[in-house]
């Protein structure tokens, strides 16, 4: 039992290491993944300023821009990762290793969080300084707690996605592509989600970033009175989502692995 746990933890560490090492190996990504995205969210900041929006909206954009790093990472480097592995011929090796797929996915998630955090922290720190964002420091610790809860739920959702995408070919790539801008819209990455019709915002709550971002904004920005639900309620929903997604991911991985094997899709490439 202990031996198995240790083996899985080592697999987690090994899979995370690849991404952590990749972060430092090719530094060009710093320009493209940290500096440039920071500049690109500036367009939304200036749009708000052109409209004469209250200054807290600038903070909303900076925070939303930072969270895009995690969403993109979940989409491209977790949910659709098994598709990439299939393409490069590594998926079968994963299945041959004597560890749980959950451990491998958790390793990818940990490494991915590290990579994304570099971009997110850069966006928040430099963006806040550049655009003069004001924060309410009494809400920072609670905000940080909800942020971590959001990440667990979000990467849990990514693991569910990975199980589904394991079955598919280019559809996986296109689905990830499709889930970018529509999710930015539905989850209120750049505006308070309460601006959307209530049923749309409630449905978007299935994506943990919707509730997480809404709660964090209420906690860290002064005069942020445009939240969807009280932060405590959103934290409870996020905790439930985190547990639910991780449980679902485990079940879905087993089921989809069985289906993929039965239909001979695990090694099916270039379709």
């Amino acid at each position: 039992m202990l031996e198995e746990l240790e083996r899985n933890l080592r697999a987690l560490r090994a899979r995370a290491y690849v991404r952590v090492a990749a972060t430092f190996r090719e530094l060009s990504w710093l320009v493209f993944e940290v500096v440039m995205p920071l500049l690109s969210i500036g367009a939304y900041v200036f749009f708000y300023r052109a409209l004469g929006a209250p200054e807290r909206y600038v903070g909303y954009v900076v925070l939303g821009g930072a969270m895009t790093a995690y969403w993109l990472n979940v989409l491209w480097s977790l949910a659709s990762q098994f598709y990439w592995e299939k393409q490069s011929g590594q998926l079968e090796i994963f299945f041959l290793t004597p560890v749980s797929l959950m451990s491998l996915l958790a390793g990818m998630a940990t490494g991915g969080m590290f990579m994304s955090s570099a971009r997110a922290v850069g966006t928040v720190v430099i963006g806040s300084w550049l655009f003069g964002v004001d924060y309410r420091f009494d809400g920072i610790w609670a905000g940080l707690g909800i942020f971590l809860l959001t990440l667990v739920a979000l990467y849990g959702l990514g693991m569910v996605g990975a199980s589904v995408f394991m079955m598919y070919g280019r559809e996986a790539w296109h689905t990830s592509n499709l889930l970018q801008e529509p999710v930015y819209l539905l989850s209120g990455f750049f505006f308070p989600v309460r601006a959307l019709p209530r049923w749309v915002a409630a449905a978007a709550g299935i994506i943990p970033i919707t509730l997480g971002l809404d709660a964090i904004r209420q906690l860290v920005f002064p005069e942020a009175v445009d939240g969807l639900l009280p932060p405590g309620v959103e934290a409870a929903l996020l905790a439930a989502a985190a547990a639910g997604f991780l449980f679902l991911a485990r079940a879905a991985l087993r089921r989809l692995e069985y289906l993929a094997k039965r239909e001979g899709r695990l090694t099916l490439r270039w379709q």
Binding site: A22, A43, F46, A50, L51, A53, N177, Y184, F190, A195
Partner: protein, 280 residues
């Protein structure tokens, strides 16, 4: 020349197959439309949140039109550059393209044709949506078609230039270059004043923006479609000057991009990167 055009045509056909044959036509059409409409709606909601649904202004119309057409920039840059990653890393065919295609430039440009067609459909849908549901003041009879045709074509030329520039970056990058084109397009989105008047940018950034062809492209498109731009800094510039600056800057972009790609390609050959496979 004939061989180059043939490479272009076949690359376009291949690109279209890869872009579209994973789904049936209906699903593919929905897929092609949801993404750009969502992107436009983000700006619409931002506008409504601040103005509380006040009547549409010239600023909104200019922003909406600029944002719609700017999709070409991101899509064509991605279309031309991602080919390298896709062919090299996933299908492992990029080296064969070097052996087979008469000129890699025509192959890369051809592969982006599918993106151009899909984006053209998306832009038409976004503009139609704006007219139908958001009171976008876009009247068929008031459009200056001649100016639109010239400005649009020159902008696409600049898109190809930037696509080649991005392809040059991609040929020496590892696989995680997925977001590179998008990030770069995001910077251009800021510097060219696509969703706000250029005058709002700090002076050095505004000056940088005035050196980029897309600033004049978006201004020209707004003038052709809406009769006016949104930037006071460009309001006094004559249409002919806009077209001339756009022409020269687009040609310059294309020339510099070709040189940059050739330079990166040489580095890639020297370091053996043409057929590298990277993982993370």
């Amino acid at each position: 020349m004939r061989a180059r055009l043939r490479a272009f045509r076949l690359a376009a056909w291949l690109g279209w197959q890869m872009e579209s044959n994973w789904a049936d036509l209906w699903l593919f059409a929905v897929y092609s439309i949801i993404k750009p409409v969502s992107s436009a709606l983000i700006l619409v909601v931002m506008y409504y949140v601040v103005t509380g649904g006040a009547a549409q202004t010239d600023l909104f119309a200019g922003v909406y039109v600029g944002n719609a057409f700017f999709m070409f920039v991101g899509q064509l840059m991605f279309g031309m550059s991602w080919v390298i990653m896709e062919d090299r890393e996933f299908f492992r065919t990029f080296k064969y393209m070097y052996l087979a295609a008469p000129n890699i430039f025509w192959y890369l440009t051809g592969r982006a044709v599918a993106k151009f067609l899909v984006t053209a459909l998306a832009v038409a849908v976004v503009l139609g949506f704006g007219v139908a549901f958001l009171d976008l003041p876009l009247a068929w009879g008031a459009v200056r078609w001649g100016l639109l045709a010239v400005v649009f074509s020159l902008g696409i030329l600049a898109c190809v230039g930037f696509g080649l520039l991005m392809a040059g970056v991609m040929i020496v990058s590892a696989r995680h270059g997925q977001g590179y084109a998008e990030s770069f397009a995001g910077v251009l989105y800021l510097l060219c004043g696509v969703v706000f008047p250029l005058d709002l940018l700090p002076a050095p950034l505004a000056a940088l923006g005035r050196a980029i062809p897309f600033t004049y492209w978006v201004e020209g498109l707004r003038r052709a479609l809406l009769g006016q731009g949104i930037s006071p800094a460009l309001a006094g510039v004559a249409d002919a000057t806009i077209v001339l600056v756009l022409l020269l800057s687009s040609l310059l972009t294309l020339a510099l991009a070709a040189l940059f790609y050739a330079w990166m390609e040489r580095i890639a050959r020297e370091r053996g990167l043409i057929d590298q496979v990277t993982e993370h």
